[in-house]
Structures are given as C-alpha cells and as structure tokens.
Symmetry: D5
Subunit: 149 residues, 10 copies
Amino acid sequence: MITNRSQVTEMIQSAKVRKGIKWSQVAEVVGQSKEWSTAACLGQMAMTKEQASAVGELFELTDEAIAWLQIAPYKGSLPTDVPTDPLIYRWYELVNVYGTTLKELIHEEFGDGIMSAIDFSMDLQRENDPKGDRVSVVMSGKFLPYKMY
Amino acid sequence: MITNRSQVTEMIQSAKVRKGIKWSQVAEVVGQSKEWSTAACLGQMAMTKEQASAVGELFELTDEAIAWLQIAPYKGSLPTDVPTDPLIYRWYELVNVYGTTLKELIHEEFGDGIMSAIDFSMDLQRENDPKGDRVSVVMSGKFLPYKMY
Amino acid sequence: MITNRSQVTEMIQSAKVRKGIKWSQVAEVVGQSKEWSTAACLGQMAMTKEQASAVGELFELTDEAIAWLQIAPYKGSLPTDVPTDPLIYRWYELVNVYGTTLKELIHEEFGDGIMSAIDFSMDLQRENDPKGDRVSVVMSGKFLPYKMY
Amino acid sequence: MITNRSQVTEMIQSAKVRKGIKWSQVAEVVGQSKEWSTAACLGQMAMTKEQASAVGELFELTDEAIAWLQIAPYKGSLPTDVPTDPLIYRWYELVNVYGTTLKELIHEEFGDGIMSAIDFSMDLQRENDPKGDRVSVVMSGKFLPYKMY
Amino acid sequence: MITNRSQVTEMIQSAKVRKGIKWSQVAEVVGQSKEWSTAACLGQMAMTKEQASAVGELFELTDEAIAWLQIAPYKGSLPTDVPTDPLIYRWYELVNVYGTTLKELIHEEFGDGIMSAIDFSMDLQRENDPKGDRVSVVMSGKFLPYKMY
Amino acid sequence: MITNRSQVTEMIQSAKVRKGIKWSQVAEVVGQSKEWSTAACLGQMAMTKEQASAVGELFELTDEAIAWLQIAPYKGSLPTDVPTDPLIYRWYELVNVYGTTLKELIHEEFGDGIMSAIDFSMDLQRENDPKGDRVSVVMSGKFLPYKMY
Amino acid sequence: MITNRSQVTEMIQSAKVRKGIKWSQVAEVVGQSKEWSTAACLGQMAMTKEQASAVGELFELTDEAIAWLQIAPYKGSLPTDVPTDPLIYRWYELVNVYGTTLKELIHEEFGDGIMSAIDFSMDLQRENDPKGDRVSVVMSGKFLPYKMY
Amino acid sequence: MITNRSQVTEMIQSAKVRKGIKWSQVAEVVGQSKEWSTAACLGQMAMTKEQASAVGELFELTDEAIAWLQIAPYKGSLPTDVPTDPLIYRWYELVNVYGTTLKELIHEEFGDGIMSAIDFSMDLQRENDPKGDRVSVVMSGKFLPYKMY
Amino acid sequence: MITNRSQVTEMIQSAKVRKGIKWSQVAEVVGQSKEWSTAACLGQMAMTKEQASAVGELFELTDEAIAWLQIAPYKGSLPTDVPTDPLIYRWYELVNVYGTTLKELIHEEFGDGIMSAIDFSMDLQRENDPKGDRVSVVMSGKFLPYKMY
Amino acid sequence: MITNRSQVTEMIQSAKVRKGIKWSQVAEVVGQSKEWSTAACLGQMAMTKEQASAVGELFELTDEAIAWLQIAPYKGSLPTDVPTDPLIYRWYELVNVYGTTLKELIHEEFGDGIMSAIDFSMDLQRENDPKGDRVSVVMSGKFLPYKMY
C-alpha cells in the first residue's frame, strides 16, 4: 500500500540507480523538457495519464505508483529550510546574497509585483568556456502586478 | 561614527528615495552591470576606490561611508532564513521546488561538484510577451568539480 | 533621515492614535477599498503619488515619508513565523487545520496550480446574526495552473 | 493495530488514489459540505458514527479505522511551521501580508476580540472570469469579544 | 512620539517601580479584577476611556499614552516561544506535560471543540497550607463545539 | 520488544479506541483522580505496581508493557514547541498572553519564587451556564521561594 | 528612565569594569555567597532593600536602579537557546551528554520527581591538582516527588 | 543488522525494564562509578572490551551489540535543544539562570578559559535533610586556559 | 530495495563494526587519502566504479549498494544545525569563535572572495608533544575571487 | 558609558576603516600572531594590560574601552547559527560535510575524546599555486581523552 507520493519518488530513484537510466531518457518518454520531467519524477509536478504510464513503463512501476504520479503532490524537495547539500546551498546563497537586488531591479522595471514561480520555465545548459565550463540557467517567469482594489 | 556596513546601505536607500535615483544610473557611474552595482550598494560586494567615490558623489555620502564601501561586507541580505517578502519568496520557492532537479541535472551533465556562486554573473531582462511580459534571468556560474585527493 | 519603510508605518500608527483617524477615512482619501488601503498604510503595498499625498496630508507626514509610501516595501507584517496575537493566530490556525483541505479541493476543481495571492482581493464585512454577529471575509484569487514546458 | 489517527488518513489517501474517488462523492455520503467532509477525512474533525460508517464503506476501511474516525484528532495538517507547498504557502503569505490589516479592520468594526476558527464555516467556489477563472473562498466566523472580569 | 504599545507598557513598569504602586491598587482604579487589570496594563487587553484615564492618572502618563491604552494591542507577552523565566516556564511545562490530558478529558466530557481563551476568566489566590502555602488558580473558559457545516 | 515508553502509550490509545474505554473508568481502577490517571496513561507519570497491573488488565497489556508503566517516563506530551492542536494551543495562548500577569501577581503576593508544577494538582469540571457550559479548571501548586544562600 | 532590569545589569557591568570591582567584594557587601550575589547582580535574583542599597553604593547606582534591584526579574541570562560562549557551552554540553544519566540515577535513588532549581544552592571552588587545577562545583537541590492525587 | 549505537541503547533500556536491573549493578560489573557506567550504557561513552563484555552478559546482548559498545558514539542524549522532561529541564534552567554567573566566577578565579567537560567527573549522592532530602552533585572539571600564540 | 544513499552508509558502518575494519584499510583499497575515502564512505563524495567495487568487496556490499556509491550524494553529515557531539561541536565552535577572524585575514590577504570548500583538501595527523599529543589538521582551499561584471 | 564588549569591537572596526589600519599592524603591536590578535580585537579573546594599551593607542580608544579589552568576553562571533556570509559559510559547510569524517579519523588515531578548541592555535597562509593561489590553514589542538571514573 502506497500512502504518500514520496514513496514513489524513492521507487523511481531506486530503479534509476539499479537500471542506470538518465534524466534525458526520462524527458524523451515524457515528451517535455528535462527540467520539467525531472521535477515531475521527483514529486514536484503532476503528470498526465500518458506521461505517468510512460514513466511507469521506463522504471517498471506498479499501477498504484502510476496512479500517484497523476496526483498534484505536496511540493518542496528539501529536508531543511537551509539546504545542507553544497550544490543546492549555492542556489540558496544566491537568493540570500542577491535577494534584495532582484527585488530592486524587478520593481524598477515593472513596478510592485512578483515574478511567477508557477507560470515559469527553466533551461539548464553547459556553457563551454576555456577557463572552465560553466552552468548556464535561464529562468523565465511571468510578471504579476499587485492588483489594486 | 559608522560601526557597520548596513548603516551605509541605509544611507544609500534613504538618499535614493529622497533624490529619486535609479539603479540604472548607479550602474552607469559604477561602470558595471546593474545587477552587480545594485548588489554592491546593498552591501553584498566590495567596490574599488573609484567605484566607491562615484557612488559616494551620486548619493552625497561622507568620506567615512565611502571608505566602508571598499570593505568586503558581511554578506546575506535577508532578515530571516525563509524570506517573507513575496517577490523574494518566489525565488526561495524555486530553490525549494527545483533544488533536487538542479542537483540531478548538473550532476548528470558534469559529475559531482557545484555551480559557483562566486565566479558567477546574472542578467535580468524584460521579455515582451503578448500574454503578459515576463522576467527573464540568465544565471551563469563556473562548474567546480569536487577534487579527489 | 528615514532609512526604512517600517519607520513610516510607525509614524502612521502613531498619528492614527493621536488624531483618532479611522481606516474607513483612510480608504476614502486613498480611493480604494479599506482592505487595500489599510495594507498599503501598514507597509504591504506601494501607493501611487496621488494616494501617497492624500495619506500624507491626512496623517501630516513629511515629504520624505510620502516618498517612501510610493516604494514597493519589503513585505511581511508579522514579527514571528507563528503569530502570537490571538486574532491573527486564528488565521494561521485556519491555514494549519484547513491547509491540506484547501489543497485537495482546489486541485480537484482546477488541477495542479495555485490560487494567486497577488492577483487577489479581499472583502471583510460584518454579518448580522441573532446568535452573535459574525466576521465574513471573501477572498478571491486567480487560479494559476502550473505550466508544462 | 492502529496507533494514531494519521495512519487512518494515510489509508484514506491511499484508497482514494487507488479507487479514483472524488471529495464531492465523500461529501455526499457524509451529508455535509465538501470543505468539512474533506477536513474530517484528513484528520482535522471528528465524525459521528453514521458519517464514519459511510466513509468506511466508501474507502473500504476496517472497523478499527472507523472507530478512529469518531475520535477528536490531534489537529494541524502541516509538517512545518511555514508550509513548503506553493498552494498552501500562498495562504500563509496572505496571513503574513494581511495579518495586521485583518486585525485593524476587525477591531475597528467590532472592538477587541477575535474571529472564531471553531464556530466557523468556509465555502470554496470557482468564479468564472474571462481573464482567467478565480478561486473564491468565503470564510465566516463568529466574532468573540474579550470578556472583561 | 509613541510608536507602539510596548513603549506604554515600559512606561507603566518604570513608574510602578519608581512609585511603588501595587497591582491591587491598579485593579481598584480600573474597577475590574487584579488579573484583568494587570494584563491590560501589560499590553494584553484594551481599556475603556475611563479605565485608561484612571490608569493614566495613577502612573502619571501623558494623554498620548492614555490614547494607546484604549487600542487593541498586538498580544503575546513572552520574548521566546519557550519562556526562560522559571515562574512562567512552570506554566509552559504544565501545558506540555498535561496538554494531551486536558485534550482527552475535555473531549470526553464535551465532545470535539475547545475551551475558549477569549470568553475566559481567571482568579489567582493564596491557599493557606501548613505544609507551605499554595498558589491556587481557577480558570474558566466557555466550551466552544466545532461547528459542522 | 518494547524499547521506549511511548510505544506503551500507543498501545493504550489503540486499545482505548478498540474497546471504547473511558478515562473515568481508568481513574476508577487506578484509584486516583481522572487527571492524574490520564496523564499517567499518556506517559507523564510513573505508576505503582498495583496501578500498572490494574491498567494492564483493563487494556489487556503484556507484562512487559506493565513493567514500563512503573518507570519514570521522559515527560513532555507535545510534538512541537508551539502546539498545533487548537484545544491545546488555547492553553499555550493563555500562558503567552497571561504569562507576565501570572508572574506579577504571584510575586506581589508571595515574593520571588515559583508555583510548583511537581507538588501540584488539577481538577477539571463542567460548569453549567445558561449562556453555554464552561470548562473550569482549578490548578493548585505549592509556592516555592527562591533560597538565599 | 529605566524601563527594564537588564539596563541595571548593564550599569553594574559597566561600573564593575570602570572601577575594577571583584565579585568577592560584592558578596561581602551583600552578605551572601559569591554565587548568589553575582546571580542577583546579573538580574537573576531579587535583593532585599538592604542588599540593594549596599550594591547601589558600591557601584554608585541611582535610587531608581536600586529600586529595580528589589524587583523579581524576568530570569534567563543567555541570548540563545544553545549558548555560543565556550565556557557556558561546556555546561550545556554536560546537560546534553549527561541529561539522561542524571534522570536515571535520581529516579533510581528517589523515585519519580525532580531536583529543585529553586530550593537550590551552589558552591564553586578551585581544586588544586598537580596535573592542573580544577573547577569544583557542588550543587545541592531539594528532591521534590511528583504528587499523586 | 545494527546500524547505529542508539539501537543498542534501546536494547539495554528494554532489557533493563524486563529484567529489573539497577544502575548500581551495572556499575559493579563495569568497575567504574555509577555516573560513568550509566552514561556509557546510554550511548555517551565508549567502553573497553572487558566492560562491554560484562555489560553484554548482564543484559544478554549479542556479540554485534557488544562490538558497538566499544565504538566512540555520536554523543548528545536529548531529542530537543531545550529538554521537555522536567527533571532534565531543571538542569537546563540552572545553566540558563546561572550561566553568566558561572562564567564570571570562573574567570575571576582562573582568568580566560573554560572548565573541561572531557577531563571531568561527577558524583551524585542523597543528602539527608530533615526538611526533605536533597540531591547533591559534585562536578569537577580541569580548568583549561586559552592559549595565546 | 535501497531508496537512498544513507542506507548504504549504515550498511558500511554496520559492516565496519562487525568486521573491525579500519579507515586506513579503506583508504588503501580506494587509493586516495584517508580523509577523502572516509568522507566518500560516509556519503559525502561520489566514487568511481573501481573505487566503489573495491569498497563493496571490503565491506561485502550488494551490487545495488555499489551502484549507489557512484551517485553524487545529498551531502551534509550532521543531524542538527548545531552539532551535539562534543568532538564535532569543537569544530563548530572554532567556526563560531574564529569565523570573523578568518574572514578578516583572508580578505586582507586576497581581497573579496572565498576559500573553496570544493577545490579543497585536508590532512589530519598526530603531532607528538611532551605536554600531550595534538591533532594537527592542514586545510587547503583555492581562493576564489568575486567576479565583477 | 560602555555596557558590553561588542561596543568596543564596533569602535575598533570603525577606527580600522577610518584609519586604514591592517591586522598585521595590530599583530605587531600586540606581539602575538595575526590570528590571535585579530580574534582578540573582534571580541573573542581577553588581552593583557599591555596588549590592551597598545591596541588602544593604535585605534585611539578611551581608557574605558581599554579596560573592557582585558575582560574575558562573551564569545561567539556570528549572528546566526548557520552563517549567511559566503566565506564563513564555506567553513560551516566543511564542518557539516566532513564532521563525521573528522570524528572517525580522530577516534581511530586517538580513541574517544576531542581535539581542544582552547589549547589550540591556527596559522593561515597564502599558498602559491599556478592554477590559482590557495588559502592554507593549519589548525593544531591538543587531544583530550575522555576520563573514566
């Protein structure tokens, strides 16, 4: 009996290691970007029936697990408020160091409001560089102005 | 007597409101991007003597304040671990929701290591869109592999 | 010298007590609802120049304070994660007790996504009731679906 | 052996996914609103014997589980003080941003006291809107004045 | 300029020490119990105009301070979630040790609901005892049943 | 194998639901008040051999569980510092709102010291009231003066 | 105007540094042990009128400060739950490492109950030792058994 | 398979209750004080091979458990920063109330440095007293001066 | 089924105790320093296929466990923000006491930037000393200057 | 009037910026290493009378400030448990990532005990490297074995 979505994430991670599957392969069967597809497998997005079936086949999941993949999950992928993993911490640090800068520049350009984290997409690429390759991430979110009423 | 860098940040924010200065103007006198220049004014980067003088002139700061602008500050711009401001929170949410996804994809492409938050640059632009303009942010950080020893 | 927006909130609260001004009067000069107008005075919304001037006149604020009212503030009105004030705590309790219920019902009706807290309005009214009057609050927020990409 | 109410919540969530039951169906067999019925299933309200039996039949629960549904549960549906799930977080954000506003307006209308979270009801509806449908939630709670003694 | 209610609490505490006033004297001029009157002075209750004037006279407060005494304060008298002061901690400990017991016994007697902390009164008395005098506190709160809807 | 006292508490709670036992019945077999008896079953007090045997018989516990009931348990019945359950939270709120009041009044009457939470008893009763029945709790604790040395 | 006891503690600490006073001198004028006298000066105990006057004379305090020394203070001398100062941390560490040991041994000897921190005294002495002098602290607290009722 | 030391602590606690063993008996077979022996069993000290074998025999532990008793454990015996158990809390309270006093008196006697929690011993005894027996604890730790370099 | 890397760490720790393996032996089969090899076994580094196989043979791990050893783990080896174990706490204390000193001295020598924790190595040795042997740790990290852009 | 040691740290930091003094100059007048001298100025060590006078002359401090430099300070240089500043965070990260490794290796070499943070010294140097200069830090602390008693 599966009682929460994180059990399915663990099944996927376990099968991924055992079978040596890559996220790019997952994206292919899902038919969406590698960013969205990975997030969906890790319990942060809800899949359509077709996507869930394809993922289920790839990782050899049970029907019950496939049903759970179609449920909107309780999101949040980190075990602590401040992440301990160095790779993820660097992203937290960027928000901490550049948080007020992002706020100032978005308000200067758009006025009071936010950049949406829902109407949002992300693209992560390797940037070749002779001084050492770089990770390049493009984040795009709709600007939502505060409504006056 | 100025006893810490955040007093200078407050002086800058106060003068900015009184004088109606824009961050793009600041970037111009600093001679760097608006992202770096704003972060530097907000106490997250150290300026050169020339940059500090230019900023001091623009905001009419004292010599003592200008000296503080050249000191490497105690960084971190947020008053709480989890930011309460909705604009900044959305960025925290992105790290929380996509944290494990970023980790998986960077490791799949580069192996074990991190994306640097120090050898890093950021570019924020308005993206015109008929369904509502978007905020587009490009983040570029050097990949640093874990050293085996 | 005013160095942050919360100093202006304190000036308004102080003048409000001294002069016995009511929030309904504030809403009238602002020209928006009492909910938005109060939130704006308490440092949670940015005012237009006209709104700020009207509020400044009502509370006899300085020009510097009026300039700050037009800046998008660092939002969040509570001193602790879990509010200690009994009136505000009851709202926190509603989120805690009904949080998963709201999640289930919104997903059942709309699919994966959120109810916006930005494209949002709120209306608070007295509901007469022989067994004791009630507070009635209507909250309306745009549904934002998660984007697949 | 069932040792706490959250095990029953997990049984219900598991059966709901396996059987594809909707909360509106649950409300029907319970004979109360979808809001109260969902909260009750999720471990936030105590059911009568008849309600518990009906829910037990729908989800095929054991007699022991049905007995637990009639016990007043240890309430609170969130794993952390500040919820990480974006849908629920928006509600937390509303309390954070509008907390002092709600306090001011209720006190202005009613005097010192609170809006009850116990003598309370809630109604969530889809609001059709050409610019995008909205979630509309009406919350109604009895005003309770502080007693002087 | 007084900018928040806790400044008035400090004025009262300061005058109380300087003048050697007792809480029983305060209760007399307020015309309510010593428990309610003390809580009101310490920023936990709102006074009527007459009560505030009487308290203002006793402690020689300014008109501005007297105006603040009539405002519903942001309640909560403790600087930390878990109080450090031994006398107050013992009360926290009672809630911690007996919390589930109180829950069980109130539910057994009344069903699902709470004991009100708003429609509430408290009476603290010395209880003479040859083995050492005791503090006796009677707490009385209206039972509020959860509403089904 | 039982490895901690909270396993026994879970056994008791499970059996209580299955068998429909009441705390008043438990108090009878224990031979003490319903308050002390309930707290003891919930892992907050240590029982004598006779009390443990009687409780064991009532709930059909094993000899090993009965042995654990006689051990002084690691006390504290709440999973979080600030309780989320509304009934228990109201008690926390009372300590928070009235904490400094209790301190002031006990010191005014007794001098520096505390009200004991160990040499303590509690009595919870229904108080009939035409405006709605009330929960009445009498708490009695020995005053312990700080020793000067 | 003195508004809380910690201002008096700061006055004492400041005068102590300026005048080079020793705690043993303070104990002498107070007429109690150095442990109690120091704790009283640091805001953890209430003094009699005579003790307060003597301390006031030694540190050249104002009458207002001397009045505050006779008030039972809000106790707790540490700015954080887990102390950062290495000397004080070692004491926290002892409680953490030996906490369950103290519990087991006191219960084995005395049954369920506590060692009082109120009816308590402490004596700190230098213990000469050829391998390096030691700090010896004797702590004595009355055992208080849990009352059955 | 035993995967951490706390499993062995649970085995010991479980056997101790089942068999009715006393810590004084444990100390005897270990050949050290009851304080050190208890701490060692509770996962705070590492035993020699002989001590571990003797303890293993007394509690009928497996060879694997006996091997774990000889490993230096991850120390810290409390589940929360601030302990909830009243007996252990009183010790935390002593550190909180007397923390700065201990610091002042040790520095006055020895200069800057700490009292060691490693080169440390503790002796707990019953102190007969007609007004109620007392718990007496002697703590002795080597003074370690800060090294200048 | 292995669902996360920490299960493999537990398998290694369990086998290490059962078989009495030393970290120096592990380093030998891994072919790297004892510091890196230990960290890798404890779930803080990713191994190559060869290293994982060698470690798997030494500890008799399954193929599935060996596959997990080659995955970049979610790093962070401590269960709490402030470590409770005295040996590890001393390192935390060094960062706390010397944190600002390290910052000042690195900035004075190198300018604004950080010492890398990724391009990093560490060497721990016994330092013989007649007054008591010492632990000597050499830490070497690349200096990374903040990039101006 | 100076009421705590951190005011003196602020005076030193302020004068250091105004006068452009370097820590190496401070070390020279103190007559100790730059590491100890910096830590002492930043409020983490107590100075001798001579050291304090020399530092006072260099920074033009008052006699009162010089007196405070000779007092053992309340240590701990960081405003939060987990430091936000990137340079200092990397050190926290090292403790987090390598904490259990340091524990294992020190215990393997020395047995149960700790590396002292009091009988401790540290030396920070630039390490020239063609691939980018490195920060090299040697830390040396006396091993202290747990005492058996």
